[in-house]
Amino acid sequence: MLNFPLWKRLWLWGITLVFAITSVPTLVSLAGGSWPEFLPRPVVNLGLDLAGGSHIMLEARPEQVARQRLETMEESVRTALRSATPRIQHGEISSANGELSFMLDDASQVDAARDLIEPMTTGAGLTGQRDWTINVVDGSRFVLKQTQAGINQTLDSAMASATEVVRKRIDGLGTREPIIIRQGSNRIVVQVPGLQDPEELKELLGQTAELEFKLVVPTNEPGGQVLPYAPGTIGEGTSITVRRLGGIRGDSLTNAQATRNSQNNEPVVSIQFDAQGAQRFAKLTTENVRKQFAIILDGEVISAPSINEPILGGQAQISGSFTPETAGQLAIALNSGALPVDLTVIEESTISAELGADSIDKGILAMGVGSLLLVIFIIVTYGRFGVYACLALVLNFLMILGVMAIMGSTLTLPGIAGFVLTIGAAVDANVLINERIREERARGRRVVQAVELGYKEASRAIFDANITNIIAAVLMAMIGSGPVKGFAIVLLIGIITSVFTAVTMTRMWVAGWLRKARPADLAL
């Protein structure tokens, strides 16, 4: 038990020092100093509650994804049946309750139709299910139903690209070090340190930014679609009819920029189409000179200019009562692409930097004073053994910081509380050991034997206590969110490092001292 050969001592010190040293960059940056750029710098970042900033949680609705899938499927089925040879005639396609159903005019074409539709469905990931089920009822009625696995798969890919779009938009704002994380199946968490007014960010992320160009048609034309003017535009409160099909979509843009109109100095957004889009735009404008076309953003008309001459270079300007800010936002949104799903803000919090700084100062002060008093109390109670315990505490503190830095964890306010409590638990381990040594001495055991038994007998309770704390911490980390999680991570790391420093390291020191000094009695 008390035998520590050189290799073991080197090994234990090695582990301790590696972790302890990795905490140095964090300590330097907490103290307000700057860490040289050329050195490796694993730093524990401060959470928003300490650094100040904005936290926003966005959510997509799975129903919307399901609805969109249904529409796409309807469109593909319609096209496939129409372009089949011979053409497959069918009745009205109804899309209610998340399923498509339609009747074939000629029941003998059922197999042909099935052969066309079946390849449109695929397996849903690794679930073993198809993404759609196809049933034929009453001889000629097709029923296509989306499976949950199919919806989940589409939602998953929509969220993946939505996260990317959100990232691009936030980068476009030029904020520093934003954290963008997908959470669960349909949520995205955005954290922007230092951001004090999240309104602009929320507006930007709330836009779907789907840009369309469609021809304006007379109100009574069949196949027309009535769209309202966007708030704040000239036509606010009125609406306009456009041709549903044959427009150009904004995904063929290569670049969008906020500028000013050279004639009236009004803020505008200039856009550049890619080659294909430019061609289609040229065609649309050439064929429809002197007609009106509508520029539509997220289903609302921004403006409906008339085409004075064909626009051939693939460049256009959108004007529509913009302010410089809204023009800038639209440019960022268009450049980052449209969101595949609408995102709604469901949770939001902003902490001012002053409050954060105040919390850090007070947190450090409380930890400093608390630790100092604790060190005095422990040394007064246990003497030399108390000194070892306190040394272990310092190493434990550094190791927790070091492990957090390596893991790239974030230190939050509850995390600081976690630190304090971990220190309490570590002290308890030493208290248990030292009390046991005292007891064994009182029972008349010799020094070395008492120390050995002290460590051995106390280990059982230390082990059980730490396991139960680990159970609590793991549950907190798994189920809890936000503050509970931040706290649990520090606690988990701390439990492991504290066993190492408070039990193993102190035993090594005590063993070394016993061997060197060979004391006949213990001051304990």
Binding site: E348, D428, E435, I471
Partner: protein
């Protein structure tokens, strides 16, 4: 060097002689807590009920002008705010219900803007420290997950104790944890301090620590049961508590030192959190001695509960002190 000894050697306090009165008092306190929770409820934070909280510090005033603030915000027509002092007298938190029928959050954003600008205009020294807004759906999820974490932790820990010791010890630990959590919740109901996610973390911590105490005593009970087969159980439990008393006192004091520092000097934002844990340390230490231990008598722990099996027989200390 003369070392500090808070608890003299070989104490022999008859803790268990008073087990009935203590149990009666504790059970009454638990019932009172349930009563308080039923009547007063908890002052749930926006994490749990949804809504919006705006934190303001009035840097030019010694005390926040709460009545004026209430009238100003009420006049905006979004309903009356719940205003609560936080930490210092010049810091408050304003809580608002989120507007209904607000699918894209536009109304909530407008409400925030109006409240913030009203406060800033009416009170020149006002500093907005933070805005937090949680939708009803998220808040109910947070509440469920928080309570789930708490419940599962208590059950998980008790099962572990049952596996490591005997079922009686598991039940004893579960009862002691229930006692600690109930009394702490009762205190929150009594003082109407805000109960939010941080407090759930505090409760989880305090059950962890309360359990530390239980385990230390139980570990000693197990050891003594193996050592002194013929000692009557109450006497043996008293001996175990006495033998670990010094450790209990030193550890509890160590925790209190760090917690009091955090409570008095630490950030205002976690005052509730530290307060809950500080109370929990007292309650937890008390419950491990007066709740978790005597219950073993009533649950019928037998002296042969831990008859050494083959592999653990070798661990027995060689019996220098057979007689206490």
């Amino acid at each position: 060097m003369k070392l500090l000894k808070l608890v003299p050697d070989n104490t022999n306090i008859h803790f268990l002689r008073w087990r009935m009165p203590f149990y009666i008092v504790s059970v009454l306190l638990m019932l009172a807590s349930y009563g308080l929770l039923a009547v007063n409820g908890l002052n749930l934070g926006v994490d749990f009920v949804g809504g919006q909280a705006i934190r303001v510090t009035f840097t030019q005033d010694a005390e926040a002008p709460i009545p004026a603030l209430r009238d100003e915000v009420d006049a905006l027509g979004y309903g009356e705010p719940t205003i609560q002092q936080m930490g210092n007298p010049n810091q408050v938190s304003l809580r608002m219900r989120l507007p209904e029928d607000d699918a894209d959050g536009g109304l909530a954003a407008k409400m925030t803007r109006e409240i913030v600008s009203t406060i800033e205009q009416a009170h020149p020294g006002a500093r907005i420290d933070g805005v937090e807004s949680v939708s009803g759906q998220v808040s109910s999820e947070l509440f469920t997950s928080g309570m789930l974490a708490l419940g599962l932790a208590m059950v998980g820990i008790s099962i572990y104790i049952w596996l490591r010791f005997e079922w009686q010890f598991g039940v004893g630990a579960l009862f002691a944890l229930l006692h600690d959590v109930t009394l702490t919740l009762g205190l929150f109901s009594l003082t109407q301090m805000e109960f939010d996610l941080n407090i759930v973390a505090a409760l989880l911590t305090l059950i962890g620590y309360s359990l530390n105490d239980n385990i230390v005593v139980y570990d000693r009970v197990r050891e003594n049961l193996k050592k002194y087969r013929r000692m009557p159980l109450p006497e043996l439990l008293d001996l175990s508590v006495n033998e670990t008393l010094s450790r209990t006192v030193v550890t509890s004091l160590s925790l209190l030192i760090t917690l009091l520092a955090l409570l008095l000097l630490g950030p205002d934002v976690i005052f509730g959190f530290t307060a809950a844990i500080t109370v929990g340390i007292f309650v937890g230490t008390y419950s491990s001695i007066f709740m978790a231990t005597p219950i073993l008598i009533w649950l019928g722990v037998k002296p042969d509960s831990f008859v050494p099996t083959k592999d653990s027989a070798g661990d027995e200390p060689d019996g220098v002190t057979r007689k206490a």
